[in-house]
Amino acid sequence: MREKPLVDLSQYLPILLFLGVALAISGAFVVLPMIVNRLTGTAKPNPDKLAEYECGFPAFEDSRAQFDVRFYLVAILFIVFDLEAAFLYPWAVSLGGIGLTGWASMMLFLVELGIGFAYAWKKGALDWE
């Protein structure tokens, strides 16, 4: 008698198919423009065209560049309120099930965040200069 496999791999078939399709399509997106480009005769490389594109920043520079510390402050404040939104969504969806306790807990959370926000505002964390 054949031994029972540890994990039934057949249930992962859709993922395998998905990966295959993704690989095929993304390969086509890379290769097709290059072929079309050659065939239509628009391939006229120059140094700027061949340079890497890195979201508008120079691709190669010293990695120890200094950032203004104010960026971090803004980023941290952003994360706080971003997370707040991430908590609010599932809370809003399940509000019917969690009742008054759930509602009160979230209101308390918002009040606490509000106090923190008021503190940051009063301390001038939001002023750029």
């Binding site: 306790t101 606490e112 106090i115 923190g116 008021a118 503190y119 009063k122 301390k123």
Partner: protein
């Protein structure tokens, strides 16, 4: 259990967190000029929270939080140490123009976290409490942010603390994965029918993460640097309140959640205890900075407290809790003396050589300092001897007398550097005198703690013994 009943059990935390939020608003609008007012209000809040401890007993939030004799005992110690850390701060920071209204608030928030830690009966409550305590502590370590040593201390503490939190969290995830629950009781039930490899790994990682928080060897390396760099009132705080909270947390998780696996964690605790006492004793000998020396002394003392837990019996746990109670008095007293070390210009000096001949320039301070040193060394007439006796007694009671003998030998090594300080103060040629003490409150606190660890402290043994035994009984 209803929501209201749960909230009633968490009354100390509610008082502290609500108070801290209100004081934060006062700090924002009142500015640093309101720092004195906020300090006194914070001490009052800690006192009220301490008074509200009395009758709380029960499990809240479906087993996430527990108020019992054990948590109340630990919380009382934590609040007292936090209050002293707030009281000694204003004069230190004002001399450097760095007093800010946020200092007492950060201590309050840290105290809320420590309250959650000692009351946690669920791995996630434990983690949230620990992080709340740690995040406030990182900021406190770098409180004098223009001072490079303070900033360095904060950064080191943060990076290594984050690593330890990661290790702890990894252990928690393993325990959850292999036991299917995060509740201490559930983990204990799962461990009851034999411990699997996965559970063992989880246990080891959790122990390693917590050993970092109590700065037990081999996870102690941050302690001397952080204690030296942080402002002295903050160092006094680090050496007292978080140590008690983390030790109580370790005791609770070891007994409550991992009780059936005692033989597994006992080895770890024994190793950490031995290594801490030996390294804390030997490495302190070459120190020239008093704060570094006291950091090694705290590592040494944590090792002795761990001996009690290593016994794994109610007597052992009671001995550990008694040890922590006496330890915070001794350590706060020592740091209060360090705060008095200011040269004629009023700048803080930290090298041990400047203590030379203190008995002739400041006899009272020298006597108090000597009492704390003798007591930390565990020399019999002083009260520091008693908890050491208790932990070794607990070890001998379960037949671990070789361990007790090694422990006593290391305490002799430790006595060397404590006695060296006494010798420097009493027998060396006087160094330039310190500036006279300007604070009656600090003198009072020094005198109070010196009396508490003097032989008069033995009068407190019945009370301390009863309270710590009740605390230990709550776990078993």
């Amino acid at each position: 259990m209803s929501m209201i009943a749960s909230l009633a059990l968490t009354l100390p935390e509610l008082i502290l967190s609500t108070g801290a939020l209100l004081l934060l608003l006062v700090a924002a609008w009142g500015g640093d000029g309101s720092s004195r007012l906020i300090s006194w209000a914070s001490v009052a809040l800690l006192a009220i929270a301490g008074l509200s401890l009395g009758c709380a007993n029960g499990v809240a939030f479906d087993g996430l939080y527990k108020a019992d004799a054990f948590s109340n005992f630990a919380k009382a110690l934590v609040y007292a140490a936090a209050a002293v850390s707030i009281l000694i701060a204003p004069r230190f920071f004002e001399a450097r123009g760095a007093m800010r209204a946020e200092y007492p608030i950060l201590i309050l928030l840290s105290s809320v976290g420590m309250g959650m830690m000692v009351s946690a009966t669920d791995l996630l409550t434990l983690y949230v409490g620990l992080e709340l305590q740690s995040l406030a502590a990182y900021v406190l370590a770098s409180f004098m942010r223009r001072d490079s040593r303070s900033a360095e201390a904060g950064l080191k503490y943060f990076v290594l603390g984050a690593l330890a939190s990661g290790i702890l969290l990894y252990g928690i995830s393993l325990l959850y994965g292999f036991t299917g629950t995060t509740q201490f009781g559930g983990v204990a039930t799962a461990l009851g029918d034999g411990i699997s490899h996965g559970e063992l790994f989880g246990l080891v990682f959790v122990m390693a993460g917590l050993a970092f928080k109590i700065s037990a060897v081999p996870f102690h390396m941050w302690t001397p640097d952080v204690y030296e760099g942080a402002p002295t009132p903050v160092t006094a705080f680090f050496a007292s309140a978080p140590k008690v909270a983390a030790m109580a947390l370790l005791v609770r998780i070891a007994v409550d959640a991992m009780g059936p696996a005692t033989s597994s964690w006992q080895q770890i605790v024994i190793f950490a205890a031995l290594a801490s006492t030996i390294l804390g004793g030997v490495a302190a000998i070459g120190q020239v900075n008093i704060k570094r020396l006291l950091a090694y002394s705290s590592i040494n003392n944590v090792g002795f407290a761990l001996f009690g837990l290593a016994a794994g019996t109610p007597d052992g746990v009671a001995a550990t809790m008694s040890y922590m109670a006496v330890y915070i008095v001794m350590t706060l007293g020592s740091f209060l003396c360090v705060l008095q070390m200011r040269n004629a210009a009023g700048d803080a000096v930290e090298d041990i050589a400047s203590l030379s001949g203190l008995s002739r320039t400041r006899p009272g301070l020298a006597a108090a300092f000597a009492i704390f040193m003798f007591s930390l060394a565990g020399i019999p007439p002083l009260f520091g001897f008693w908890p050491k006796f208790l932990v070794f007694d607990a070890l001998v009671a379960i037949g671990l007398w070789p361990l007790a003998m090694i422990g006593i030998a290391t305490s002799v090594i430790g006595a060397f550097y404590y006695l060296k300080i006494v010798k420097t103060m009493y027998f060396d040629e006087p160094a330039p005198a310190y500036a006279p003490s300007a604070s009656r409150m600090e003198n009072g606190l020094i005198a109070l703690s010196a009396v508490a660890v003097s032989p008069l402290g033995y009068l407190a043994i019945p009370l301390l013994g009863a309270l710590s035994m009740a605390a230990a009984r709550a776990l078993f």
